[in-house]
Each structure stands twice: as structure tokens, then as C-alpha cells.
């Protein structure tokens, strides 16, 4: 991401959070129409560089739970809490860049994003990503309440999205319904294979440890690390390129497979894995095996039609 964009995003966030989130409160009142009179502001940011994530997590949990138990009518803002989500029995800590807001007996997740809402509409891809991300936070907060024996449904399934308006850096707030994303997320978490069963398929001594030294510099031999990475087969798809830093590595590992061309192409080619094989089935250089008959017939027909059409034009 561009340093210029990051700086601008930070500036925007600072603006929204300035003076104990004064601007944010105005938005909650005026745009979301929440009856907020006064609020407590609870800063859960690290106190210093030594502030460990586990102690921050405990602090966050205590603060959020205390807020539930006291039923003060004033609102409370929690800036930068640490949350935890159970993924396959493993507790994963998340450090979301968010504000949790409690009013009455409801919690709202507030997400500050730096993409603009122009004439009431924003880039649908970015909104979708924000919704997906917020759903994780909603779920994590619910889990925390549940673990503490409190009502998880106190966390609203509508999150507050704060973005710059039009061409300005004036914020606007919109409510975003994340029920669909929550349902998908829960389904994915349920279906996930347990990490142990996946680990059993891998060599026991496999590790991606960078062997950081005291100064935090990696000391592992890059070549050796690469060898380790190649022991796990890539599940590459072109979307990886924008989402994962290993995109280029996995793409070259997947070279020659239909996967590099994308999911749709894969389906169109009848699920044949190798490009060479697909082409040879299409041109008739290769006899299809039993499972490939149907795919091969389609490929042959497509190839013949293609040749005929191109031939007629030549």
C-alpha cells in the first residue's frame, strides 16, 4: 500500500477520534440517530512498547465485561480493544483497528475506513471487504461475552462504517448490515478441518520459522526456507496475487496447471488439471481416461469449431 494513502488514512482516523472521539459521537448522533448524550472514553491502546498483547487482551475483556455489568445509561467507547476468536479450537488473538461502542445494552462495532462514500455509494468491493472484516470482530466480541456468561446478542449485527464523504475528508457514518457475512463466517469456521488433521499430512520437522535473532532480523537461509515452502503444495488461484505475499511463488509452482488461469477456466475445461493435458485432449493427441470422456468430447468439439472458424477466415 502507498505510504501516501496510509498517511492520509491515519490522518482521517485521527480526525474522527480527536478529543475523545468528539467527531465520532456527532456522527453517531446525527447520522446513525443514536440517542447518545454523554460518553465515557476508554483507551485500550498500548500504554507503552512493552505492553504485552496478553495483558492488553485481559484489560480489554475486563473493560468490556464491566461495561455490561454496570447498566449506566451513558455510552462508552472502547478504543482499540484486543479480541480473541476460536478457530478450530485454537484461540486466535486479533488486534482490530476499531472502536467498540456500548449504548444501553447494545454494543456496536465501529470501523473507520479511508475510502470515500461518493453521493451515498462507495466502491462495492471495498465495502464488501469491510463488511467481512467487521463480521469477524462482531463474532469475536460475541464469543467473549458468551465465555463470560453474558448475552452474546448484545453485540449488534449492524456495524457503523465511518468513511470520508465525497471529495472531502469530512466523515460520514453509515450502518452496515453484516448478517450475511456473519452466517458465511460461521459456516466456514464450522467446516474448517482441524489444524491437527492437516498437520498430520505434513513432515513432522517442517517449519516456516524465520529464526529471528535478538534484533528481530531473520537468520534462516532463504534457500532452505524456500525448500520448506515447496513441501506444501500451493492452492494457487489468480486472486492470490492481490491477497497473499507468496502469490508470485505459488504462481510459479502452479505453472502448467489450469489453476493459473482462474476458477472459471478450470470449470470450463471440465476440471482437467494440466494445461498440456487439456490441450492434448482437445487436439486429439491424447486418449481420455474413463473419468475424462465427457470433458474430452467438449474440448474436441470446441477445438474443431475453433479451427474451422479460424480456417474459414484465413
Amino acid at each position: 500500500m502507498s505510504s501516501i494513502a496510509i498517511a492520509r488514512g491515519r490522518g482521517f482516523e485521527a480526525k474522527v477520534k480527536a478529543d475523545g472521539c468528539a467527531e465520532l459521537l456527532r456522527l453517531l448522533r446525527e447520522h446513525i440517530r443514536l440517542p447518545v448524550a454523554e460518553v465515557h472514553y476508554h483507551d485500550l491502546n498500548p500504554t507503552d512498547t512493552d505492553d504485552r498483547i496478553t495483558s492488553r487482551l485481559r484489560r480489554s475483556q475486563r473493560a468490556l465485561q464491566a461495561a455490561v455489568e454496570s447498566d449506566e445509561p451513558t455510552g462508552t467507547l472502547f478504543d482499540h480493544p484486543i479480541l480473541q476468536l476460536t478457530v478450530n479450537g485454537v484461540q486466535v488473538r486479533i488486534e482490530p483497528d476499531l472502536i467498540a461502542f456500548k449504548l444501553g445494552n447494545q454494543f456496536f462495532v465501529v470501523e473507520i475506513k479511508s475510502f470515500a462514500i461518493l453521493d451515498g455509494a462507495a466502491d462495492s468491493g471495498k465495502v464488501a471487504a469491510a463488511a467481512q472484516q467487521s463480521a469477524v470482530y462482531v463474532l469475536a466480541m460475541r464469543e467473549m461475552l458468551q465465555t463470560a456468561g453474558l448475552d452474546p446478542d448484545m453485540v449488534s449485527d449492524h456495524v457503523v462504517l465511518v468513511c470520508p464523504k465525497d471529495f472531502s475528508n469530512q466523515p460520514v457514518a453509515e450502518l452496515l448490515d453484516v448478517r450475511k457475512q456473519l452466517a458465511t463466517l460461521k459456516r466456514q469456521l464450522n467446516r474448517m478441518e482441524s489444524v491437527e488433521s492437516i498437520l498430520r499430512l505434513l513432515p513432522p520437522d517442517l517449519t516456516f520459522d524465520l529464526r529471528l535473532d535478538d534484533a528481530g532480523q531473520p537468520t534462516r537461509d532463504p534457500q532452505e526456507l524456500a525448500t520448506a515452502i515447496f513441501q506444501v503444495t500451493a492452492r494457487y488461484s489468480p486472486e492470490c496475487l492481490g491477497a497473499c505475499e507468496l502469490g508470485g511463488v505459488c504462481r510459479s509452482e502452479a505453472r502448467g496447471t489450469v489453476a493459473v488461469l482462474g476458477r472459471v477456466v478450470r470449470e470450463d475445461l471440465g476440471g482437467v488439471d494440466s494445461i498440456k493435458e487439456a490441450v492434448e485432449l482437445a487436439t486429439g493427441l491424447r486418449e481420455p481416461d474413463a473419468g475424462q470422456r465427457q470433458a474430452a468430447e467438449l474440448l474436441r468439439r470446441a477445438y474443431d469449431m475453433r479451427e474451422a472458424a479460424l480456417g474459414a477466415a484465413r
Binding site: I4, A5, A7, A116, D119, P238, D268, V279
Partner: protein, 496 residues
């Protein structure tokens, strides 16, 4: 996508060479295209940094903002872009001809302007810049020069045109290229103009694979914008902008600005060349027969919109009202269907695609009754019967209408479908395009042994009930929409 396209991609990887997806080019290409390569400042909503624009590949005009974070400078940028774009628009509008020699002749421009940007994000840039400038007032507080507002109205029009499948007004180069060639990479990677062109036109003496990896290095091939390369931002742009903000004297400011201009030019120039290469490659592909007719319609649209603007037409609203949305949606669908059909009728590869999906079949005429007549309302009518033998799978039902691309969409009704040992036999009754005589016009009925193709894809569409006029928009749809006059509120719109 389709099986044929996917196969072409696989063939491209296999042979490490691009593969044709269509036999013809279905896009009109202007002899004087206007190319815009825009760059914006990261993290902002459309803060223009620079643009390279013009119709002469050898002499691009360079516009560089003096300070991308200042509102006045953004409008200044728009003003300079207006000077570049409104001139060719006006020139095109002045050269007109009559549509026919009859009494009902209208006036139509001889040629309409055609704008090229590198990619779909470039189209978005045009749309957003249009939105930013069209609602400004030309008098009172925050007034802008008239040309800035006019630029906004035009950019908005071009961006709206770009949504139509058959458009020739504003073109994203990557999309135009991808319509004709399959490369051996995914659509996502084809979105990088440099990587796409690396397949079609690798540098002298370089093979495709090395050309592609070179194209993916932002240091060697800067991104086609409008977003700049993050590394470039960090190493060059950010320091230059800082210096620009802190320059104390006009001379210091000028020096920094020169540096900024030089580095931005370096970022845009390769993309500028690539867009022209793309235009050149596409121009070399033979044009499909129905392209001129479609371009004529585009010239009509341009002519009438120019008249609207010249008559002091109001800028487009921020958001379409119910009536206009419905109109637009209907037009989008209709033009898409017509374009799809025209492509299929013109192009053997496109029709092959429809054959694979069961929307068309090709075969040989094995029997004809060219003089067959059936009783009509008042007298008997000519309804020849044609029997076609085909190896294609037939998914058509008896009674369904199909059309013959070779006979300008002659309609036929499927009379019967029978499966045989070596394929299918389809009997068709021809319905029209045979002239008004007792017997069919020569050539209007397929001959015995002729290779024929029929498809259910058709250009003719069912016109819906006319939409209510704007004044009659029902209250359920928000009632009549107010005019979208530029408001002071818009002129004072907050910019950072």
C-alpha cells in the same frame, strides 16, 4: 466466459502465444483517437496528479498539477484538461452531414470523438472527475470557468457511454484487447496493460515469458494508473510533494515542480506508448461488417448530446431518478442484446461459441421446398421448408424461432427435430426476407447442399411500453425529479 474462450487461454499457455477470440474486431477505431493516461494521488478521492493527453503519439500533452492537495489546483487541472478535450469535441461537432437526401434528413457529425484510457480504473477516473466538475457554478462564490463545468458534463457523458456493451466513445484499452485475444494469463493479470501487451508485442528479441516478467516489475514498467506504484510514492513522490509544500520562493517552487513533472512523465510515458500500441494492434484486425452501422448510431448520440450541451443543457444529476434509471437499464439491456447478436452474425468464432452452448447450430441443407405456400389471412403466403442435417446437439423446441445470420437474420420456425444415427435433422419453415413476389427472391432461400447456420440470438427486441414522462413519475418512484441545477451547496462542496 465460455468453453471456447477458456480453451483459447489454454492454447495460449501451451504455445506461449496469444490466441484469437474473434475473427473480426467489433469495435470502431477512430483515425484520430484521443488518449488520456491519468495519475491520481493515492488515498484521496480523485485528486489528479497528472495526465498525458492527446491525439499525437509522438507529442503527448502533459498536465501536471501544481499541488494535488489544493482545491483550487484541482480545478486548475480540470481547466487545463478542458482545453485539451473540449477542442476536439467542438471540432468534431462542427463537421456535419445530412443523414439522407430526403425531406426528413437530420444532421449527423462526420466523425465523433473517441477517448482511450489504459484500463477500467481510467474510466472510473473520467467518471469521478466528471462528477467533481459538472456541478460547479460559473458565477458567485467558488465560481469556476465555464469550460470546467462543460468538461464535467462531457466526461460524465463519456463515462456513461462506457457502460454500454457496444460503446465506441470511451474505451479501456485492456478490455478492448481482451475482447480480441486470449493471452495465457488470468483476467486479473490481463488487467495490467503492460503484461497483456507483453503477450501480443514483446520487446524486440525477447520471448513472451521474459516480456511478461519484465512487465510485472513496476520499476521497469510503471503501473498504468491512475494509482501510482507504492514504491514510487515512497521514494520519489512523497519527498517531492513535501518539498513542494515547503518551497519558500517562486524559484524554489518552480525547481521542485520541474522535478515532479519529469518523474511523473517518466511514470506515464510507458503507459502512453502501450495504449497506442494497443490501438495499433486492434486497428490491424479486420473490422466486422456491422461496425460502421453501430458507429453511425454513436455519431447520432454524440450529435444530439452536443446539441443539448450547446443549448445550455443542465449537468447530469448526482443520482439518476427512477425514470432515468429505468430508461438507462432498458437501453443497457437492449444495446447489449443487439451487440451480442450483431457480433454473432458477423463473426464465425462468436457463432461457434453459441453453437457450443446450444444457442445455434450449423449443418447442411439436405432438402428444400422453395415454393411451398400455406394459407394466410387473405391469400396464401410463401413459406419454404428447409431440412438441415447437423452434427451439433439440438436443444431447440418445435415452434421456436431461429434466425439465419447469413441472410441478415431471416426468421425461421422449427417445424420438427429428429435424432438420427449421425446427428440430427431439423426442419425449418422460413418466414420473411424473401421479397414480395410470388416466388422467393434469388438467394433468399438456402440451396440444396448449402452450409447453413441458425441461431436463437436475435437483434430484434420487443419494445416495452413507453415510460411515463418525467412529470408523470409515480410517487412510488419518488415522483417527478427536480432539475439538477448546480447548487451553491455543490459549488461549496467540501474538498480536502
Amino acid at each position: 466466459m465460455s468453453a471456447l474462450t477458456s480453451l483459447a487461454k489454454a492454447l495460449a499457455v501451451y504455445s506461449m502465444a496469444p490466441q484469437r477470440l474473434t475473427v473480426f474486431r467489433h469495435l470502431y477505431i477512430s483515425s484520430t483517437p484521443i488518449v488520456i493516461v491519468p495519475l491520481t494521488l493515492a488515498g484521496e478521492t480523485n485528486a489528479p496528479l497528472a495526465a498525458m493527453v492527446g491525439s499525437d503519439r509522438a507529442r503527448p500533452n502533459l498536465i501536471v498539477t501544481r499541488q494535488p492537495r489544493e482545491r483550487a489546483e484541482r480545478l486548475n487541472f480540470a481547466g487545463r484538461l478542458a482545453s485539451e478535450l473540449l477542442f476536439p469535441i467542438e471540432t468534431a461537432a462542427q463537421r456535419t452531414q445530412a443523414t439522407s437526401s430526403g425531406p426528413n434528413a437530420r444532421v449527423r457529425v462526420v466523425d465523433a470523438p473517441q477517448i482511450w484510457v489504459p484500463n477500467p480504473a481510467g474510466v472510473e477516473f473520467v467518471r469521478t472527475l466528471g462528477r467533481m466538475t459538472r456541478l460547479r457554478q460559473t458565477e458567485g462564490p467558488w465560481a469556476v470557468p465555464k469550460k470546467v463545468r462543460e468538461l464535467g458534463i462531457w466526461l460524465t457523458w463519456f463515462a456513461e457511454q462506457a457502460e454500454f456493451a457496444d460503446t465506441g466513445a470511451l474505451i479501456a484499452a485492456t478490455r478492448a484487447v481482451a475482447a480480441v485475444w486470449a493471452t495465457g494469463q488470468s483476467d486479473l493479470e490481463d488487467g495490467n496493460l503492460a503484461a497483456q501487451i507483453a503477450w501480443l508485442d514483446p520487446p524486440e528479441g525477447m520471448d513472451v515469458a521474459s516480456a511478461v516478467s519484465r512487465a510485472e516489475d513496476p520499476q521497469l514498467c510503471p503501473p498504468a494508473g491512475p494509482a501510482t506504484d507504492p514504491t514510487f510514492d515512497r521514494l520519489f513522490l512523497e519527498p517531492a510533494l513535501r518539498d513542494l509544500a515547503t518551497a519558500r520562493t517562486p524559484a524554489a517552487h518552480r525547481a521542485v515542480h520541474q522535478r515532479l513533472t519529469a518523474m511523473l512523465e517518466e511514470q506515464m510515458r510507458p503507459t502512453w506508448e502501450l495504449v497506442w500500441t494497443a490501438i495499433g494492434l486492434l486497428a490491424d484486425v479486420p473490422e466486422a461488417p456491422r461496425v460502421p452501422k453501430r458507429w453511425e448510431q454513436q455519431r447520432d448520440r454524440f450529435t444530439s448530446f452536443h446539441r443539448y450541451v450547446a443549448d445550455g443543457g443542465r449537468p447530469q444529476a448526482k443520482r439518476d431518478n427512477a425514470g432515468r434509471s429505468a430508461h438507462r437499464l432498458a437501453e443497457l439491456e437492449q444495446r447489449k442484446a443487439a451487440f451480442e447478436a450483431q457480433r454473432a452474425y458477423d463473426d464465425p468464432l462468436v457463432i461457434a461459441d453459441h453453437r457450443l452452448t446450444g444457442e445455434a447450430f450449423s449443418g447442411q441443407v439436405v432438402k428444400v421446398d422453395a415454393t411451398r405456400r400455406v394459407p394466410g389471412l387473405r391469400r396464401s403466403v410463401l413459406r419454404p421448408l428447409v431440412l438441415v442435417a447437423t452434427g451439433d446437439h439440438i436443444h431447440f423446441d418445435v415452434g421456436q424461432h431461429v434466425y439465419d445470420p447469413a441472410r441478415n437474420g431471416q426468421q425461421a420456425v422449427i417445424e420438427s427435430v429428429a435424432e438420427t444415427e449421425d446427428g440430427w435433422r431439423v426442419a425449418l419453415e422460413l418466414q420473411n426476407r424473401m421479397g414480395s413476389g410470388q416466388t422467393a427472391k434469388p438467394g433468399s432461400v438456402p440451396a440444396l447442399g448449402e452450409d447453413v447456420t441458425y441461431t436463437s440470438v436475435t437483434e430484434t427486441f420487443v419494445r416495452r411500453r413507453p415510460w411515463p414522462a418525467r412529470e408523470e413519475t409515480p410517487w412510488t418512484h419518488g415522483g417527478p425529479a427536480p432539475d439538477s441545477a448546480p447548487a451553491v451547496e455543490d459549488a461549496a462542496e467540501d474538498w480536502s
